[in-house]
């Protein structure tokens, strides 16, 4: 066996190394029981992850697409970009989690939080780079099972445990669907390798259609697209806020990218290409519209963000329509922009929750008077989510609509555009609460901790600069591939 193949997996291996370092560090740096002070802190994992991201990105320039282990593992330079985007998300999660983890009940569990989070990330890495359905499934499970532990992290809080139970049940159910779909595909082709299935799968047999449908359903659960979104609101509400933000961006984004790559690699022969486009067409319309309508009436900010995230996922998957290279660029760019904007909003929600324990939209009334900077940041992030220039969200929405329009889905683009108006309305409701609505007892003025501030500053920079700095999009575009451009 050629052991140099492991070098292709350097991203996964270095992440594993980070996990091991943290594992060992956890032994020596666990909280001192007498004083109760946490020695083990946010700085170490954040620094390690930042180094990892930079090390990954450096050799990415000029790297070639390649395969290892007979095609089990596939690599394309674009995957490094996606993994780095996910890394940024994890760094932001760690920064945001500082305040929550320094609470007495969580102090002893700090190390576990980092390690479990990174294991889900490792699962996503494998999922992204898989070239075989078995590998893909292992990655997916590695990403979802520890996620359940994260959701139930506040185990003495009733809602958190409940959300964890709901999540694991539905995650297993969706995995079962997915496996069932994979079994149909295996039955039809006799292979699990992506590269072989593409050629073996017959375009119009019932087996492949069933396989495709169940695959879409399984992925729909992971990305929380309508009609597979029913777990989202409850889980998001119950999970610790930090974990909710992780779920709503990182987990969703990786699954959406994988959906894209698997669809173009495996399911794009003959009639199947049309089939999945039709399927996604209706799924996207349903996700965007229904989630928007539900978001209108929410009173709890985390539930609100859950529905907003479902509708954003619909926009994200819009990039997959037609499977073009332009769509892939637009999707990855959208993911990056959505990541900073959504984390920015969640960072504000998180510090407010840590300092006042309030989560209702009505509690945010007149936040502007007591905490003007937080209110301003939240406004910018919401504007970015709604797609208002000059913030990055405008650019990412424009590009993703442009890609879908170019792929020929004009009606879909029009419906999605009309939906942006509804989404603008509910995002403005939050802005209105913070700036306009009167309140006798606004959330008192507080100082957020330095790590949360760092997260907020990163998000602010991202929201303001990502769109205007055109080279980010242009760079992503040089690496993207699709049905029209084979890498």
């Amino acid at each position: 066996m050629d052991y140099s193949q492991f070098l292709y997996m350097r991203e996964e291996l270095s992440l594993l190394l980070v996990i091991l370092i943290l594992f060992v560090a956890d032994l020596f740096m666990c909280p001192d029981k007498k004083s109760g002070k946490g020695v083990y802190n946010t700085a170490l994992p954040v620094v390690l992850m930042s180094v990892l991201t930079i090390v990954n990105l450096l050799p990415c320039c000029g790297a070639q697409a390649c395969e290892a282990f007979g095609g089990m593992y596939q690599y394309a330079p674009m995957m490094t970009i996606v993994k780095s985007v996910l890394n940024i998300g994890v760094i932001l999660v760690f920064l945001m989690a500082h305040g929550w983890l320094s609470r007495p009940e969580n102090k002893v569990k700090q190390g576990e939080f980092y390690i479990v989070t990174l294991f889900t990330l490792l699962g996503m890495y494998f999922m992204i780079s898989s070239g075989h359905f078995l590998m893909f499934f292992i990655g997916l499970e590695l990403a979802s099972v520890p996620m359940c532990a994260l959701i139930a992290f506040d185990k003495y809080r009733y809602e958190s445990a409940e959300a964890g139970a709901k999540y694991i049940l539905l995650a297993l159910f969706s995995s079962a669907l997915l496996l069932y779909g994979i079994s149909f595909i295996y039955g039809g082709t006799g292979s699990l390798y992506f590269s072989q299935i593409g050629a073996l799968l017959s375009g119009n047999s019932l087996l492949s259609l069933l396989g495709l449908t169940l695959f879409l359903a399984g992925m729909g659960f992971k990305i929380s697209l309508v009609p597979f979104h029913l777990w989202t609101a409850d889980t998001y509400e119950g999970a610790p806020t930090v974990v909710t933000s992780y779920l709503s961006v990182v987990s969703k984004g990786s699954a959406a990218f994988v959906l894209f790559t698997v669809l173009i690699k495996v399911f794009s022969v003959g009639q199947l290409f049309t089939d999945w486009n039709i399927g996604l067409f209706w799924i996207i319309i349903a996700s965007i519209t229904i989630a928007n309508l539900f978001a209108l009436r929410q009173k709890n900010l985390k539930r609100f963000m859950a529905f907003s995230a479902i509708s954003q996922a619909g926009y994200l998957v819009l990039g997959a329509m037609g499977g073009t290279a332009q769509g892939m660029t637009a999707m990855v760019f959208y993911l990056l922009v959505y990541l900073v904007a959504n984390f920015g909003a969640f960072a504000v929600i998180n510090v407010v929750e840590q300092n006042s324990g309030k989560l209702g939209i009505a509690d945010y009334n007149n936040l502007y008077q007591t905490n003007p900077k937080l209110a301003f940041l939240m406004t910018l992030c919401l504007f970015s989510l709604a797609g208002i220039p000059p913030f990055a969200g405008f650019f990412s929405k424009f590009f993703i609509f442009m890609a879908a329009f170019n792929a020929g889905f004009r009606l879909l683009v029009f419906i999605a555009l009309v939906n942006t108006i509804i989404s603008l309305y509910y995002y403005l409701l939050i802005v209105k609460a913070m700036y306009i609505s009167p309140n006798d007892q606004p959330i008192p003025t507080f100082r957020s901790d330095n790590y949360s501030r760092a997260a907020l500053i990163i998000c602010l920079l991202g929201v303001v600069l990502l769109g205007i700095a055109g080279w980010v999009y242009n760079y992503i575009d040089t690496l993207s591939y699709g049905l029209d451009t084979i890498l």
Binding site: L428, K432, Y473
Partner: protein, 504 residues
């Protein structure tokens, strides 16, 4: 960087300055220096532009420059100006400058959003790339929500939300239209001039495509230009907005609509513009007459002026759709003239409201004796609005109606005559309002003690009146400037259309 980009950089520097300074004096200093610099640049640009034109530079757009932005999507940051944009930049410069003085006592955040709004407006008028233009268009829209919602009066939350959602709805149509134009023309360039030139060659947008994208684009911009039946945001929005925001919104922002309709919708899709003009002519005709009638029955001074804006902005679109040289020139002059007059009107209403705390014309009378300066200016604004010769309104409306009547078909002439009736109706509501609130004896004791305008208030009012009278007395400077910009566009629309239509 190109000289024109200064119109984007100055507001950016102002934003930075506002962010850094502390205290009311610092804020005022930044705003006054910044808006003066903007006005000065606009005047310099006008002088330079006229000089270059006189020197025989006949390029359609002057001072063009392009910087690659999103190369894979053919999106460039491209700037350039012609006569129309220069006139609009000058107008924006004047309104922002006077608006700063009118909102003298406002706080920092107000000015931040106000400056962002001006950034969008200036950026819009210098762009010749559809993406950049659309981006600046939306930049100009969103600050309105907070400006009206936080610092407005009356049912401000409702108005702010209605305005934002309707205008953003328009821009959703617009975005679709822009994609349609971009891909319809081959997906190679977002530059307006390049697309227009393509149309004579291989990449003409197919006529069946034009039938879809022209109405979308026209309605998208038309929402902002108060096209019936999408004008309903305008009265509520203007009435609830703080004074300077009403000025900027009615004075400049509504012009974005007309400008966009002309520059993007009609210029790039000439066949559809010719074929479908009749539908939109009827709609704008309704705007003109219906807006004027609605103004007659209002009792709130701001509502009267807002409906009057609907009527006058409708006239802009009406004239543009006539697709002939004279009417289009008149339309652009009307944009200028209406921008200045309506800004003056809103400024005066704001000052009167600041003293009397009511805008209901039933509760006001005899103000001429109490605040003579404001009242005289109010009369001037009113007379300008109803088209008195010597003021700018006359020049604009005269040109529009003469131009529109040149159209040979009966349908267009009948519409023109119908639209002309708005002049009479305008006189009705203006004279009624002026007579009611200014003349007679004051019956309200509280109003007797009120004072006349302060120096800071007088300054912007005088500036605006000078501009209005300037256009009215010496219209040839403006009309030469504008005419040079309108000619190539009108010729292009007529030329391409006649190529495609054998009956023309």
């Amino acid at each position: 960087m190109n000289f024109l980009s200064i119109f984007v950089f100055i507001p950016l520097l102002m934003l930075l300055g506002l962010w850094l300074v502390k205290g009311q004096k610092g804020i005022r200093a930044v705003m006054v220096i910044g808006s003066t610099a903007l006005l000065a640049s606009a005047i310099c640009l006008t002088v330079q532009f006229l000089a270059d034109r006189a020197a025989g530079n006949t390029a359609e757009m002057l001072y063009t420059a392009s910087f690659s932005w999103f190369e894979p999507l053919h999106i460039y940051y491209s700037v350039g100006v012609d006569g129309i944009s220069v006139a609009m930049l000058l107008l924006s410069g004047i309104i922002v400058f006077t608006g700063t003085f009118v909102s003298w006592d406002m706080c920092k955040e107000y000015f931040l959003w106000f400056t962002l709004l001006s950034l969008g407006v200036f950026g819009f008028f210098i762009s010749i790339d559809m993406f950049t233009m659309f981006m600046f268009y939306e930049v100009a829209l969103i600050p309105m929500y907070l400006l009206i919602g936080v610092w407005g009066t009356g049912k401000k939350e409702y108005s702010a939300m209605k305005l934002t959602l309707m205008l953003m709805g328009g821009s959703a149509f617009l975005m679709c239209g822009i994609f349609g134009i971009f891909y319809g023309a081959g997906g190679q360039t977002m530059n307006i001039l390049d697309i227009a030139n393509l149309q004579n060659g291989a990449h003409a947008i197919d006529i069946s495509q034009q039938y879809i994208w022209f109405p979308m684009t026209f309605v998208g911009f038309g929402v902002l230009g108060a096209l019936f039946p999408f004008h309903t945001w305008s009265p509520d929005g203007h009435a609830s907005a703080p004074t300077a925001v009403s000025m900027l919104h009615a004075g400049v922002l509504m012009k974005l609509g007309g400008y966009g309709c002309f520059r993007i919708a009609m210029y790039l899709m000439p066949q559809a513009a010719n074929e479908l003009a009749w539908i939109f002519l009827i709609l704008t005709g309704i705007s003109v007459v219906y807006g004027a009638f609605s103004a007659c029955v209002q009792t709130d001074m701001k509502y009267i002026n807002a409906y009057s804006s609907v009527s006058h902005c409708g006239l802009v679109l009406f004239a543009l759709l006539m697709i002939n040289q004279t009417a289009a020139t008149g339309a652009v002059i009307q944009m200028l003239s209406h921008g200045l007059m309506t800004a003056l009107f809103f400024a005066l209403i704001g000052m009167i409201y600041g003293r009397t705390h009511t805008r209901d014309i039933r509760e006001l009378n005899g103000l001429m004796r109490i605040m003579p300066f404001l009242s005289v200016c109010y009369v001037i604004a009113g007379l300008g609005n109803l088209g008195l010769p010597g003021l700018s309104g006359f020049v604009a409306e005269m040109t529009i109606f003469v131009g529109s009547f040149q159209h040979e078909e009966t349908f267009y002439r009948v519409l023109t005559i119908a639209a002309c009736s708005s002049i009479v109706i305008t006189a009705v509501y203006i004279l009624r309002m002026v007579g009611k609130i200014l003349f007679g004896t004051c019956t309200n004791e509280h109003h007797l003690k009120l004072t006349d305008a302060t120096l800071v208030e007088r300054f912007p009012v005088i500036v605006l009146i000078c501009c209005i009278a300037g256009i009215g007395l010496a219209p040839f400077f403006v009309s030469d400037l504008v005419n040079g910009g309108v000619t190539p566009i009108i010729e292009h629309i007529g030329y391409v259309a006649s190529k495609s239509n054998p009956f023309l």
